[in-house]
C-alpha cells in the first residue's frame, strides 16, 4: 500500500491539514437559478469569514491571475456576463480582456485553443458552462491534454485547468445533470479534483492552476451559493490544498462514509442524524481528490470503524463507488466487519419530474437508512 501511495503520502506529510468544520450545514438548494446573494460577512473573533463556494472560486482565480501572468481564463460568457453562474464575476473589470476571454459557442474550439495555449507554455483556465457541454470537447481533454506530455517524450507539458459545474443540478433533465468524476478519473495523465466546501474550492483550484499537469476541476452548481466559514489561513493568497489528500470532515468510530463534492454535505447531515437516533458515530471523509485517490485515509478509517459506505452522485456502473469499494477490498478487506456498500445516483437518465429527480440521487435520509442497516442498529 505504501508503495502505491507514496507520492500522495509525501505530499500529505508536508501539508497543513485544516480542520474547520462548517458552521452551518449546506441546505438543499431547490432551484437551479443562481440568484443567491453574494454577501460576505465581516471577520469574527477567530478570524474566520463566511465565503460562498462561488466567492472562494472567484478569489482563487483572482489571486492566481494576479500572481502569474501566464494564467488566463476563457469560456462562454465568462467575461462580459461574469460567467453563466457568476463565478468569474468582476474578473474582466480587474484583469482586462486579454486575461478574461469570451469565446464563441464552440466547446471543441475554445477547449482546443486552451490546450494549444497550454502546450505553448501558458496556464489557461478553461471554463465549461457545465461539464455536460464539455462532451463536445472531450477529445481535446482526453486525447490531447492528458496524453501529449507522455507522447511528446516529456517535452510538452500541459498546464491547464478545466473547470465548471458537474453532477446533479435541479430541474434540468437528463442531458444537464450528469456526474463525470469516474469518466475523467479513469484517464491516465489527468488529475481530477472535486471540492465540497469553500476552503476546498479555493485551495484545490489554486493548486489545480499551479499544478503543471492538466487538471479537471469538478464543481457543483447547487453548491455555488452555499456559505462556509473560511479560516484565516485559507483567506491568504498562498493557501493551497495538496491533491491526493482527503479530509476527515467528521471524526467517528463506527462507520466510514466516503464521499466527494455535494454528497459530503449530505453525509454530514446523515451522520448527525445517526448520532441522534442511534448513538452511532460516523466518520465522514471528504475525498477532495478523485485522482490521485487517497486510499490511505480510507483504509486508516476503515481500520478504526470496520464499516464502509461510499456516497456519490454518479451512475452506479463502473463509477466512483465501484472504485472505492474495490480499492478498499484490495487493501483493507480484513478490517471490514460487513460487506462495504455504495450509494450512487440511480441507473436511469436523470428524470425531469421533481419527485423522481430527487429519488435519482442520494439523499440524507437514504444515507442514514443504509448506514443504520449496515450497522444493524
Amino acid at each position: 500500500m505504501s508503495r502505491y501511495l507514496r507520492p500522495a503520502a509525501r505530499l500529505a506529510a508536508s501539508a497543513r491539514i485544516t480542520t474547520a468544520a462548517p458552521r452551518s450545514l449546506p441546505r438543499l438548494t431547490s432551484s437551479a437559478a443562481f440568484a443567491v446573494s453574494q454577501r460576505r460577512s465581516f471577520a469574527d473573533v477567530k478570524g474566520t469569514k463566511d465565503y460562498t463556494v462561488r466567492e472562494a472560486l472567484n478569489e482563487a482565480m483572482a489571486e492566481e491571475l494576479e500572481q502569474n501572468e501566464k494564467v488566463f481564463i476563457l469560456g462562454e460568457e465568462v467575461a462580459q456576463y461574469n460567467g453563466a453562474y457568476k463565478v468569474t464575476k468582476g474578473l474582466l473589470d480587474r484583469f482586462g480582456e486579454k486575461r478574461v476571454i469570451d469565446t464563441p459557442i464552440t466547446e471543441s474550439g475554445f477547449c482546443g485553443l486552451a490546450v494549444g495555449a497550454a502546450l505553448s507554455g501558458l496556464a489557461p483556465i478553461c471554463e465549461f458552462m457545465t461539464f455536460n457541454f464539455a462532451m463536445q470537447a472531450i477529445d481535446q481533454v482526453v486525447n490531447s491534454a492528458a496524453k501529449t506530455l507522455y507522447m511528446s517524450g516529456g517535452i510538452q507539458p500541459c498546464n491547464i485547468t478545466f473547470r465548471g459545474p458537474n453532477g446533479f443540478a435541479s430541474g434540468v433533465g437528463a442531458q444537464h445533470s450528469q456526474d463525470y468524476s469516474a469518466w475523467y478519473g479513469s484517464i491516465p495523465g489527468l488529475k481530477v479534483v472535486s471540492p465540497w466546501s469553500a476552503e476546498d474550492a479555493k485551495g484545490l483550484l489554486k493548486a489545480a492552476i499551479r499544478d503543471p499537469n492538466p487538471v479537471v476541476f469538478l464543481e457543483n452548481e447547487l453548491m455555488y451559493g452555499v456559505s462556509f466559514p473560511m479560516s484565516e489561513a485559507a483567506q491568504k493568497d498562498d493557501f493551497v490544498i495538496p491533491f491526493g489528500k482527503a479530509k476527515i470532515e467528521r471524526q467517528g468510530k463506527d462507520i466510514t462514509l466516503v464521499s466527494l463534492s455535494r454528497t459530503v454535505g449530505q453525509c454530514m447531515v446523515a451522520a448527525e442524524a445517526l448520532k441522534k437516533k442511534y448513538g452511532v458515530e460516523a466518520e465522514v471523509i471528504n475525498l477532495r481528490s478523485v485522482k490521485p485517490l487517497d486510499v490511505e485515509s480510507i483504509i486508516k478509517s476503515v481500520k478504526k470503524t470496520g464499516h464502509l459506505i461510499s456516497v456519490e452522485s454518479g451512475f452506479p456502473f463502473a463509477g466512483m463507488g465501484a472504485e472505492i469499494l474495490a480499492t478498499t477490498m484490495e487493501y483493507g478487506f480484513d478490517y471490514l466487519q460487513a460487506p462495504a456498500q455504495r450509494i450512487t445516483g440511480a441507473e436511469v437518465p436523470t428524470p425531469y419530474a421533481q419527485g423522481l429527480e430527487e429519488m435519482a440521487f442520494p439523499s440524507e435520509k437514504l444515507i442514514e437508512d443504509y448506514a443504520a442497516k449496515l450497522l444493524r442498529v
Partner: protein, 457 residues
C-alpha cells in the same frame, strides 16, 4: 483517429508495388481510384489548375490574398418593408385573406403564450421557459411552406414551427407541465417539444447536435426515394441559431450534406445574440450565409422579420433541394432577439433596454404583417383586439387544464430507457408494486394516471 493512418499505409504499399516509371509520372499516392486519378496530371500549357482539390482554378502571377472585405456583404432579400408595403413587385400572393389571417393568428398565439409562460416560470410554476419574441415570422413563415411529410429538426426557439404544423395550445401546455398527456411522458425539460405525427424530432439540449443529424435524415430520405420512387419527394428542414453555427457540428453537417448531396434546408435564425455573446464576438465573416458558399451550398440571406420573404425563400429552397437528386440549401434569416435568452437570463445586464425597445417598436414581425393586412383592408383595430383577447383566453384555459391534469403513469419511469423492459427493470417494477400494495396509506397515488395498476407487467 486510427483509421486516418491506416489508408495512408496501404497507399504506400500500393505505390511500392508499382513499377518505378509509373510511380514517377504520378507523384503522390493518388493511384487508388480511377475517380481521383483522372484529373491529376497537369496538361502542358494549361492555364488553370488541375489539382484534384481545386479544379478550374485559373493560374495567376499576381501574389494577392483574397480579403473578406473585397467581397460586398451578401444582400438581404425582402418582400415587404417595415411598414408592410410590398417592395418586391414580382411577389404574387398565393394565400387567401383567410389564410393570411391564420398565419397571423399563429404568430399572435405563440407571442401571447410566451409572455404568459415566462411569467408562469417566474412564479415558480415550471422550472424553465424560452420565448421566441421577434422570431415569429421566421418560424411560422418557413414552416407554412414545407410539406407535412417533410422532416424537421428544431433547436429550442421554434414554437412557431410546432404551432404552424398543428401543435395545439394543449400540446404545448401538456409538455410544459409534464402531465400524462405530454408526448415525452414528462421526462424532458420544458420547451423540449417533439411530435411524431408532425414529423418533428424532439428538441435536444446540447447545442447544434441536430444539424448533422438533419443531414443524415435527409440522406435517409434520399436513399428511401431511390429505393422506392413511388414515395413523395421529401426534404429535411433544420433550425439553429447563429451561436450554434460556431459549434464544430455545424461545419461537419454542412460539409457532409454537400458531399453526399442531401436534400436538407439549413435555416439559421441569426438574432444577434447567443445568450450574452453578440455576433461580433461570435464570428468575423459575413454572417452564416458566407459559410454556405464556402461549403459549396446554394445560399440566401433573408429578412427574418418579413414573413413573405421567409416564405418565398423557403418555398424556392425546397424546390431547389429536390433538384438534381437532392442538394442542401442554406437560408440565413436575420432578426433580433427581443426577448431574454431564457428564464435563466437577464439580457439587460449586457445590452441597453432602449436598444430592445427600439427594435420592438421599429421592426416587429407581428406589426409588419398587421400593417400589411390593414393596408389590404381585411384587418382592423377591432379584429386585433378580439384576436388578442380570444388567444389570451385560450392560452389561459389550456394552461389551467394542463396544470390540473394528472401525472404520467408510474410505469413510465421504467419504460424507454431501453427499447424493451430489461429483466432487472421488470423486477424493480414488481418490487415497487409489492411495496405500494404493502403500504397503501403511505403514498398518494391518485395524481398518477392509473395509480399502482400501471405497474402490472
Amino acid at each position: 483517429m486510427k483509421t486516418r493512418i491506416i489508408p495512408k499505409l496501404s497507399l504506400r504499399r500500393v505505390s511500392r508495388s508499382l513499377p518505378r516509371a509509373t510511380r514517377s509520372s504520378y507523384p503522390g499516392p493518388i493511384i487508388v481510384s480511377a475517380r481521383f486519378a483522372s484529373g491529376v496530371s497537369q496538361p502542358p500549357g494549361s492555364d488553370y489548375v488541375s489539382f484534384p482539390g481545386a479544379v478550374k482554378s485559373a493560374f495567376t502571377n499576381d501574389l494577392k490574398f483574397t480579403l473578406p472585405s473585397d467581397h460586398p456583404t451578401l444582400p438581404t432579400y425582402r418582400v415587404a418593408d417595415q411598414d408592410g408595403n410590398i417592395v418586391d413587385h414580382s411577389f404574387e400572393q398565393d394565400l387567401s385573406e383567410e389564410e393570411v389571417i391564420q398565419l397571423y393568428k399563429k404568430m399572435l398565439m405563440i407571442s401571447i403564450m410566451d409572455v404568459i409562460m415566462f411569467d408562469a416560470q417566474r412564479q415558480g410554476r415550471l422550472s424553465f421557459y424560452m420565448v421566441s419574441a421577434g422570431e415569429e415570422a421566421l418560424s411560422v413563415g418557413s414552416a407554412s411552406v414545407l410539406e407535412k411529410e417533410d422532416v424537421i429538426f428544431c433547436q429550442y426557439r421554434e414554437q412557431g414551427v410546432f404551432a404552424q404544423r398543428g401543435f395545439t395550445l394543449h400540446d404545448f401546455m401538456n409538455q410544459l407541465f409534464a402531465n400524462k398527456l405530454d408526448k415525452s411522458c414528462g421526462r424532458n425539460m420544458p420547451v423540449h417539444y417533439g411530435s411524431k405525427e408532425l414529423n418533428i424530432h424532439t428538441v435536444s439540449s446540447p447545442l447544434a447536435t441536430q444539424i448533422p443529424q438533419a443531414a443524415g435524415a435527409a440522406y435517409g430520405l434520399k436513399i428511401q426515394r431511390i429505393n422506392d420512387p413511388s414515395l413523395p419527394p421529401r426534404v429535411v428542414a433544420v433550425y439553429f441559431g447563429e451561436g450554434a453555427a460556431s459549434e464544430g457540428d455545424f461545419h461537419a453537417a454542412l460539409n457532409i450534406a454537400a458531399t453526399r448531396s442531401c436534400p436538407v434546408i439549413f435555416i439559421c435564425r441569426n438574432n444577434g445574440y447567443a445568450i450574452s455573446t453578440p455576433t461580433l464576438d461570435q464570428y468575423r465573416g459575413d454572417g452564416i450565409a458566407s459559410r454556405g458558399i464556402g461549403y459549396g451550398i446554394d445560399t440566401i440571406r433573408v429578412d427574418g422579420n418579413d414573413i413573405w420573404a421567409v416564405r418565398e425563400a423557403t418555398k424556392k429552397a425546397r424546390e431547389m433541394a429536390l433538384q438534381d437528386g437532392g442538394k442542401p440549401i442554406l437560408i440565413e434569416a436575420m432578426s433580433y432577439r427581443v426577448s431574454h435568452h431564457s428564464t435563466s437570463d437577464d439580457s439587460f445586464a449586457y445590452r441597453a433596454r432602449v436598444e430592445v425597445e427600439d427594435w420592438k417598436r421599429r421592426d416587429n414581425p407581428l406589426s409588419r404583417l398587421r400593417k400589411y393586412m390593414e393596408a389590404k383592408g381585411f384587418w382592423d383595430e377591432a379584429k386585433e383586439k378580439e384576436a388578442r383577447e380570444g388567444t389570451r383566453r385560450d392560452v389561459l384555459k389550456a394552461f389551467s387544464q394542463a396544470e390540473r391534469e394528472r401525472k404520467p403513469p408510474i410505469r413510465s419511469m421504467f419504460e424507454d430507457v431501453y427499447e424493451e423492459l430489461t429483466p432487472e427493470l421488470r423486477a424493480q417494477m414488481k418490487e415497487l408494486r409489492d411495496h405500494l400494495e404493502k403500504y397503501p396509506d403511505e403514498y398518494e397515488l391518485g395524481e398518477y394516471e392509473g395509480g399502482k395498476n400501471s405497474l402490472d407487467s
